[in-house]
Amino acid sequence: MADAALSTAPRAARGGTLALRLRQNAGLLGAIGLFVLFYGVYNLYHPRGFSQQVLIQNANEVFTIALVAMAQTVPVILGGLDLSVGAVMTLVNCLASHLVAGGPGEIGLGILACLAAGTAFGFLNGCVVVYGRIQPIIATLATGAIAIGLALFLRPKPGGKLDADLSWAMTNSLGDFAETYGLFGDGSGGGQAPWFQPIAGIPVPLVLLVLVAVGVWMPFRRTLTGRTVYAVGSAEGAAFMSGLPIARAKLAAFTMAGFFAGVGGLFLAIQTSTGNADIPQAGAYTLNSIAAVVIGGTSLLGGTGGAVASVIGALVLRAISFNFRIFDIPPLMQPLVEGLVLLAAVSLGALRALRTRNRLELFR
């Protein structure tokens, strides 16, 4: 039979894996290009460009939005939107301002409680979407309001006091972290161990970011549930027919979103050592998270993309505004310039539309 011959035939026609990967991730490549451009220019013109201080400062500034963007990504891949990520971030931020203080044990428990709270709120979002059968975008618009309301109950006005050491250690380099807690030392202090020196200059938030991405997102993506998230975003009906665990995937997606947003809120609390139930700020984080997801090349229609890409998107967003501190743009023109650059960045995807020669491919 011809089959046997076919199955063993060399697959000569196939391109290399790398080429295929690149083609399938064109959006992400664009985002990386944008980031290199904006961040490179910023560092080039910064009086202390490419230095540890600048990197630390940038890492601190980027961390929360990067996590909120990761949070947004999972529901987006699922084919929904989570309009509550900024609010959940804020809620955990306020909770942390009550819980993350005291002795090391209390702090540890506090941190766990904060992460659990974010995760739980995300899970509730998932329940509303799955069992309430409400469209995610509108369900989370509503639960977002509830999260903000709870945050306001917790912190009617900004305040609270987080552990100062923790705050310092988490917002500086690994070296400072080790020094603060007397780790990897040679007895006289912390952070002098020779093996430690090469990495001592890395900002802690950057390490955390990588840990969350590699330790949580990457494995999740490779579970059956994670794949189902993609499948549901691609074609929910087909995913159901394929016998995939849809409800579990939806619950997991929103739970992940809550967890990531919670990590972001917790870090913001540690960074500022306070909690603040700031409604406009929550809204800004939510909207920026969507922008970051899009700039990262994830389709808002679901099924494709990834959280790491959204981190890049968030980096691009931040890097745009970094440049305002370097270049002399009249202050009242800055919002306009920022708006135009944002519009241009999100319109990059349009190149695909303009290149598409079969208009039917535009509809999906």
Binding site: G132, R133, A142, G149, E236, G237, A291, F363
Partner: protein, 320 residues
């Protein structure tokens, strides 16, 4: 639609009835509160109700436009600054040209949004967000650089604040726009095209519907209605100012959805949007009267939306 069984409740009517019922519940709760605290049922007085309609008219105009865009499966997050930019432009131009200038802003923004969404095919959620940022930037630059006049003209005052036979002109404008919108949606090719595109853009396109033109028109109408609301709101407050539109975006979306329009497009009746607007305005007012702190307000606001959607939004599980 072709005449169906007249007695059977159409699927898209149920949300409207429920929302209307909820409006009554809100009024009842508010009245119970005022009876308890002041011994009077002020909420049932015509003066109060007309005042709510007056407030609701601006939101109603924005929501009507938003609904057109939501029906085709898009969203317009730029209405906040479209509204403000139109008002600020109208007052800056002043004189008899104020109104046309304000509406022209709406047309321009709508065209930009429409082109971005229909031709560049950038997701509307994000393109309109960018346009919103650009508009804000423009208005900041203009306030700082040109210091224009911000006083509303008499015509704007008339539309926004005055009354004819005790009924605010703004409410009459809203009613007129509502009639037109309802007719547009149910009786014109454009209306059918909106629903068709909301359900399947590819099928609509292959049916020979000029989908790009329809998209652009929907965005233009949305922006024009937002700018009309802006011009009238400036008339109501006698002036235009930055940030006057911020309070209209999310409530407009919420009103449309509470009224039974599907957030992903393709389904919904205009009457629902009107009821949704009234519901939101009343809810805000009653919470304000009860001096509910912001925290409680937010929780109730979110709770109401979820409760409403749980009651009627629980459709069959999506399988497609």
């Amino acid at each position: 639609m072709i005449a169906g069984a007249p007695l059977a409740l159409r699927a898209d009517t149920k949300p409207i009835l429920i929302a209307a019922g909820f409006v009554l519940v809100i009024l009842a709760v508010g009245t119970a509160y005022t009876l308890a605290t002041q011994g009077a049922a002020t909420l049932l007085s015509p003066a109060y109700l007309i005042q709510q309609l007056q407030t609701g008219a601006f939101l109603g105009l924005v929501a009507a436009g938003m609904m057109l865009v939501i029906l085709i499966g898009h969203i317009d997050l730029s209405v906040a600054w479209t509204l403000a930019a139109a008002a600020m432009t109208a007052t800056a131009v002043g004189g008899p040209l104020a109104l046309p200038a304000g509406l022209a802003v709406g047309v321009a923004v709508g065209l930009l949004n429409g082109i971005g969404v229909a031709y560049l095919r950038v997701p509307s959620m994000i393109f309109t967000l960018g346009v919103n940022a650009v508009l804000r930037g423009l208005m900041v630059a203009q306030t700082g650089g040109f210091a224009p006049q911000t006083a509303a003209t008499d015509a704007m005052r008339f539309l926004g604040a005055e009354r004819i036979a005790g009924m605010p002109v703004a409410v009459l404008v809203w009613a007129a726009v509502s009639l037109l919108t309802a007719g547009l949606l149910s009786r014109t090719a454009f209306g059918k095209a909106l629903y068709g595109m909301g359900n399947s853009e590819a099928a609509a396109y292959l049916s020979g519907i000029r989908t790009r033109r329809v998209t652009i028109l929907a965005f233009v109408l949305c922006s024009v209605l937002a700018s009309l609301a802006g011009v009238m709101l400036a008339g109501y407050s006698t002036k235009a100012y930055q940030g006057m539109g911020d309070a209209y975006v999310l409530p407009a979306i919420a009103a449309v959805v509470i009224g039974g329009t599907h957030i992903l497009g393709g389904r919904g009746r205009y009457l629902g949007t009107v009821v949704g607007v009234i519901l939101i305005v009343l809810l805000n007012s009653v919470l304000s009267i009860m001096q509910m702190p912001e925290a409680g307000r937010q929780v109730i606001y979110g709770g109401v939306i979820i409760a409403m959607l749980l009651v009627y939004g629980r459709g069959a599980p999506t399988r497609s």
